[in-house]
């Protein structure tokens, strides 16, 4: 029997392999921010931060934080040579106008229709949508990054989200700590499973319609098979 263990790093590692050199990527607060740490050295993505910059660099060295340079999560950051700053209207013009290739967001729930909920639990917690609604609407590809199960053991992938939606029919890819799913035609399509989890385990632990793709394979590939 496989026991589920939350593993945020594999989610970040897998998502980091999606991008190609030159693509523009926006990484949300929390888990998605980790993705930046795992982009392969031979791939140069351009990170956009919706509070107003392109060319997001690594966190500053201790003591080097600039009070005027933060990311959308209020953390000190740096800018790479060749980056640019702009105001919020320009930033969301870039986002809404389709100039961002990928947005990676954390979720409370996501579902097989490509819906995503992450800004509000009525009566409990209302952080607000921030830039997430524009990012999901405007980006070319929307990637939901989430642990597969709640601490309670319930699936975060649903048939139908029950929380207020951040995005309606916008999610294209869901990467959890058990596998990589494409959202197509009202179903999750399992493209990769992350051992020790198996397609059968995933089917049994996902409260939604999941199709196992014929070419579904394990990830990461065994070193020997590379």
């Amino acid at each position: 029997m496989i026991e589920y263990q939350e593993n945020k790093e594999i989610i970040a590692r897998r998502i980091a392999r999606i991008f190609q050199t030159g693509e523009v990527v926006n990484l949300g607060i929390g888990l998605p921010t980790l993705v930046g740490n795992f982009v392969p050295a031979d791939v140069t993505v351009i990170l956009q931060s919706e509070n107003g910059l392109i060319g997001l660099g690594p966190a500053p060295q201790p003591g080097q934080a600039d009070k005027d340079l933060t990311n959308a999560g209020a953390m000190p950051v740096t800018i790479l040579s060749g980056g640019a700053f702009f105001d919020s209207a320009t930033s969301f013009g870039i986002i809404r106008g389709g100039h961002v290739d990928y947005t990676v967001l954390g979720v409370l729930e996501t579902d097989q229709e490509g819906n995503l909920a992450n800004y509000k639990i009525p009566g409990k917690m209302v952080p607000g949508m921030g830039g997430a609604m524009d990012l999901t609407t405007g980006s070319r590809v929307v990637i939901a990054a989430t642990t597969h199960l709640e601490k309670s053991g319930t699936s975060k992938l649903k048939r139908r989200c029950s929380l207020p939606l951040t995005a309606a029919n916008e999610v294209n890819i869901v990467v959890t700590d058990v596998g990589y799913f494409e959202v197509l035609g009202g179903r999750f399509h399992l493209a990769e499973y992350f051992p020790p989890y198996t397609p059968d385990w995933i089917l049994a632990h996902t409260d939604a319609d999941v199709v196992v793709r014929q070419d579904c394979k394990a990830w990461p590939p065994e070193e020997g098979c590379k």
């Binding site: 931060s49 919020s88 800004y119 607000g128």
Partner: protein, 230 residues
């Protein structure tokens, strides 16, 4: 060029009236006019009340660390009747006031908020955006089809007073913002009847390259000089 009056933060604070719609630049902990905000709160019983605050977010509110940024001090002092923002997740006091019914909170997607403020400054009657379709954001709004796509009509959001923060200003009121401290500041400077700019550094007219002005002087009514923050 005309020189703009240079006033103190306290004088600026006195220009904000109860009931005003006040637009405040800044993004959580970056680029807010903190001196003027502090001066408003410092007015105590004379502070303006029943404000409608328009801001990207409601700032950091951290009782444990005693850290309150952006509009958080105004909310803490209960000067707001309504808050229009995209995010209130870093301010538990905003959530508390909302849940208790003390303060109304209207959540607006960040890009829509930016365009609504810009539209007010640019004399547009609104903009059509796909953002928010199929979500609670669309409730009560007109939907229009252009080409084959559906959009929400979002209306302009003008203000009575803009409180903005710039890195540098010249005596005519031309402003330059620093890095991500720019955010909503230049948009709000176009959208309000009265614009008060807090600047870290004041320079002579002519010392800002006209190709590199972020907010042209004609938008700015008053300057408050704070010196560089730490």
């Amino acid at each position: 060029m005309i020189k703009k009056p240079i006033i103190t933060a306290a004088e600026a604070a006195a220009l904000v009236k109860s009931g005003d719609v006040v637009q405040v630049g800044g993004f959580i902990n970056c680029g807010s006019p903190d001196s003027v905000i502090a001066a408003i709160v410092a007015r105590g019983a004379q502070a303006p009340r029943e404000l409608t605050l328009v801001c990207n977010d409601s700032g950091l509110h951290d009782e444990a660390k005693g850290k309150f940024t952006s509009i958080a001090p105004l909310i803490k002092a209960k000067l707001a009747r309504k808050i229009i923002a995209s995010h209130i997740g870093t301010n538990p006091e905003t959530q508390r006031q909302m849940n208790s019914g003390e303060t109304e909170v209207l959540l607006v997607p960040q890009g829509t908020l930016a365009e609504r403020v810009r539209a007010a400054g640019a004399g547009l009657g609104g903009i059509l955006t796909p953002t928010g379709l199929g979500t609670e954001v669309e409730i009560g709004k007109q939907k229009l089809t252009v080409g084959s796509k559906v959009y929400l009509l979002e209306e302009p959001l003008p203000g009575d007073v803009a409180l903005v923060k710039a890195r540098k200003g010249d005596k005519a009121g031309n402003l330059q913002y620093a890095k991500t401290a720019r955010n909503f500041n230049p948009l709000m400077a176009t959208a309000c009847k009265l614009v008060i700019a807090e600047v870290e550094e004041l320079v002579e007219i002519g010392q800002i390259d006209p190709d590199q002005v972020h907010t042209p002087s004609i938008f700015v009514d008053y300057l408050v000089i704070t010196g560089a923050a730490t």
